[in-house]
Assembly symmetry: C2
Homo-oligomer: 391 residues x 2
């Protein structure tokens, strides 16, 4: 057998293991310290009641012969695809049901869709970045080019026509920076993709955090996107499904006269067997009027955390992105600190844990990520401590 | 962008769509006909009560802040991996918890694991065969060699040292033939794999149907297998999880000094995000004493169907494999009929729907698959009709 030696080129990321190690060493030395964790990108509020009720009912259906369900369609049940199509239609984006593929999450699809592309494709990926975009390309031996995201462009890089790329990764609202692309910038990317015969992978996992109606929540709000962009979305952040696992990918029929859509259908029917019926019922419940109201109440809770955090940083005159239409805040470390030095200071002096920006790429050095997924009291207290430390 | 043109070499399978078309045409012309369907490979009995109860409880846990779960470990929760390890230990197979990877099903893993192997590997695949083995290799441009499964070898081919292969697919109990390898035959395959430095992909999805204690339910019952074989298994047929989605793959640390295990871990943590917590609780409940008893009661029901079918075929002196330690019966079409001709005869003269063997490969021509997943009354009646037709 011949193994795929590209795997040997993967760099182990020590970001979260280093954080865990530093935190546990500090806790052991200071058992009285009340640490507040603002480093995780995971939700903490329970699932909306409507989704739990739907899953309990679906589990019971599976226990009765008359309502039992075996293999479902690999690309998702019609009832869920219709709910997703209606969710887009409310924003004026019309999708054909056969363009929507339900899956176990955006992370799986972002990796698996690379099956459809040869190793010759050049991937264009922002720095800083969600590490899986890079690793999934390294695994296939693809060349990765970085686009510079920095304070100069508000961590929202625009296309450079001197660069040739085949696969363009955009994430908006961005993880880790919380920055959100406007329509003009996304239009520039769509134009660039057409000029280069490239495909855009648009990661919209955080779209439900966008409140500003002038900001696009889907790349398909941009004319021309349906012939060059694949969109990845998920119930993880909409409905708290990080441990419940349901996402969806839109592969429009406008790309390559429908060939990419047919290839993805072939890939999914051959290497995937659908999402649990129970989970699909839960996801559909999240998009009902009642369920979506409960989802938005949870998102409002996190966004109020973000607002409190943003207000504290503004009062300290610290530069940051995010915090308004995103659960992430990306701040410049005070006094020119490096990321890990600021991590240590915050841990030791304020007992607050965040994520050093340097862990997300070269351009993250000197920056720091805080997340709004904690509880209100802890968020308020963390900001009090930070104001006292840096004020 | 450069698409993966190997996808253009995939042959569309019209097997199940042709069956559906013929059945619907016949039904339209004969609305009074009471058709009995014995073509599907899907379970029909409801989920065991213990699994439903566990999933209802887990769904409720997700609705409360104290018991809510976000992202879980990509490779599965410890509680489920321990249950799986104990399930193997009861058969004398000892597995390290880190060799077990919980997933959304064997179909996904059988496709995704090919990520770890270059396109130079030659795949050795039985004919007739479960079509996904072939298609997942064609998608990556790999050369596929077939091993001949036929009446002469009881549809259980043995290694041919004149053939060089890198990846060997074995499925036992077999889909579609129902044939089950004994220990001597599997030992010969393990020896061959070592001689050729090949890896065996052992598909054990139907192992729970094996009652004969002399037949291996896991390839790890064979000495030497832990350094050359990956085993794929699933709760689909053990616990009726075809629409609930949970499987597991064992990648022993004995293969390539642990490198394959580390690569699969890297692949799964990068391109997968774990199985729903709710579903993992259901799967763990299926392996408790109470839950497993309920699973085995369902399997006994299907096996009694298979026994009734086997008895009818024996009374007609029709040659077949399977039916004893498998939910499938693979029979030689009477009077030298071709597969599709026998399909038409059975549909028109007995109103019974099966699957033409020719749909599973060249060696399937002249054979026919019946499945034992229907209900008792329909199975009994179908056999009465077949006996009347062919007796």
């Amino acid at each position: 057998m011949h193994i795929n030696e590209n795997y040997r080129n993967l760099k182990e990321s020590y970001l979260f293991s280093n954080i865990a190690k530093k935190v546990s060493e500090y806790s052991a030395a200071h058992p009285q310290a009340k640490l507040i964790r603002m480093g995780i990108g995971d939700v903490t509020l329970p699932l909306p009641k409507a989704t739990v009720d739907a899953m309990v009912e679906a589990a019971r259906e599976m226990g009765k012969r008359e309502t039992f369900r075996g293999y479902g369609p690999e690309q998702g049940y019609g009832f869920l695809k219709e709910s997703i199509a209606a969710y887009y239609a409310r924003r004026g984006v019309m999708l054909d049901e056969h363009e929507i593929f339900v899956s176990d999450g955006a992370k799986s699809d972002l990796g698996n869709i690379l099956d459809l592309f040869t190793e010759e494709n050049v991937a264009l990926i922002p720095d800083p970045v969600y590490p899986a975009y890079v690793d999934t390309n390294i695994m296939a031996g693809r060349r990765v080019l970085y686009m510079e995201a920095n304070e100069g462009n508000g961590f929202l890089p625009l296309p450079d026509y001197a660069v040739d790329a085949d696969i363009i990764y955009l994430c908006s609202p961005n993880n880790p920076t919380g920055a959100v692309y406007g329509k003009a910038a996304l239009s520039a990317w769509v134009e660039y993709a057409h000029a280069k015969s490239a495909v855009i992978f648009f990661d919209a996992a955080y779209e439900a955090f966008i409140a500003d109606p002038s900001l696009p929540r889907s790349i398909y709000e941009i004319p021309g996107a349906k012939s060059c962009a694949v969109e990845f979305c998920s119930f993880s952040k909409i409905a708290g499904f990080t441990g419940t696992r349901c996402g969806y990918t839109v592969v429009p029929k406008g790309i390559m006269n429908g060939e990419l859509n047919r290839m993805w259908l072939h890939r999914q029917t051959t290497k995937f067997n659908g999402v649990p019926y129970i989970v699909q019922r839960g996801a559909a419940a999240a998009l009902t009027e009642e369920g979506f109201g409960q989802c938005m109440a949870n998102i409002s809770y996190y966004k109020e955390n973000a607002r409190i955090m943003a207000e504290a940083l503004e009062s300290l005159s610290i530069w940051f992105t995010g915090g308004k239409n995103s659960p992430y805040i990306w701040l410049r470390c005070p006094n020119g600190s490096k990321s890990w030095d600021f991590f240590d200071t915050l841990l030791k002096e304020a007992n607050v844990v965040g994520t050093p920006g340097a862990g997300f790429g070269n351009n993250g050095e000197g920056y720091f990520r805080l997340t709004a997924f904690g509880n209100r009291e802890a968020t308020v207290e963390a900001m009090e401590r930070i104001k006292e430390l840096l004020g």
